[in-house]
């Protein structure tokens, strides 16, 4: 069942991405100030959204694990965090390349960029910590605590462009500004590509979950063999 779902999600994502890339490169016009380069936003911003939603989902699952002690929540949280770190890294790297053209520099220590870097490093640390702890209960408890702590920083990443003065552009999406900052056709494509990346992230999370199940099966077989 899970195999079929993963294949269905992958096919759906491929179709949606094909449609999106056609529109991004061949239909939508250039942005007046940035020219051709602005198209990087169609991956930069949706990748950030996928990462943030993933971190918040992992936080919810971590709270559920702490409340119930069910390891399935811990496995799902770990899978989601790993995929979210990948998409947040995509966000950082594409943003850096965009900054090189628009600002003339690869990096600046402003609030948005720095908080996002801290976010990626925190959750990369989470993944390393999970590798280092063998005892499942201790690993799950510490992971849940670190996820909840890390999500405070995700709020700072999200709101930093409103709270602080930044080099990073301010909010342009209509649900944050009330509209008028971005062309509706461009914004529509941004949401469509967010959907495509979300479907890819869901497929990758399911693959990662299957690995967690296999790892648990190996652990239980080993324990049974030692009894």
């Amino acid at each position: 069942m899970r195999e079929k779902l993963i294949i269905a999600l992958a096919v759906g994502a491929a179709m949606l991405l094909t449609y999106n890339l056609y529109n991004i490169f061949l239909v939508l016009p250039d942005e007046i100030a940035q020219g051709y380069m602005y198209r990087i936003i169609y991956f930069h911003v949706p990748a950030a959204w996928v990462g943030m939603i993933g971190f918040f989902a992992a936080m919810t699952l971590s709270v559920l694990y702490l409340a119930s002690g069910n390891f399935r929540y811990d496995s799902l949280a770990a899978s989601i965090v790993e995929v979210s770190v990948v998409f947040s890294t995509v966000n950082l790297v594409t943003g850096s390349i965009w900054g090189r053209v628009q600002w003339g520099i690869w990096w600046t220590w402003d609030y948005r960029l720095t908080s996002q870097l801290v976010c990626v490093l925190t959750f990369a640390g989470y993944l390393m910590m999970r590798q280092a702890i063998d005892e499942p209960t201790q690993r799950a408890r510490l992971s849940a605590a670190l996820t909840i702590f890390g999500c405070f920083n995700v709020v700072i990443v999200w709101k930093s462009i409103e709270w602080f003065r930044n080099n990073h552009p301010g909010p342009v999406i209509s649900f944050r500004t009330g509209g008028g900052k971005m062309d509706p056709a461009m914004e529509h494509m941004l949401f469509l590509n967010f959907l495509a990346l979300l479907v890819i992230a869901s497929a990758l999370t399911l693959v990662r979950m299957r690995q967690e199940s296999t790892a648990r099966e190996i652990d239980s077989l080993r324990r049974a063999a030692h009894v």
Partner: protein, 53 residues
Amino acid sequence: MDARNFTFMFYGFLAAWLIVLVYVVSLARRSARLRKELEDVKQLVSTAPENRT
């Protein structure tokens, strides 16, 4: 079209897909390793002395 603009946009898209691709390859390798490990452990358990008749 500004050629430099286009080049950096290409780098951006290339970097984004490379990161995802590297992750997908690492997932595939990890899956293969786990499958092999599961087979090995199953075989080990089935040939353990207490399971022999």
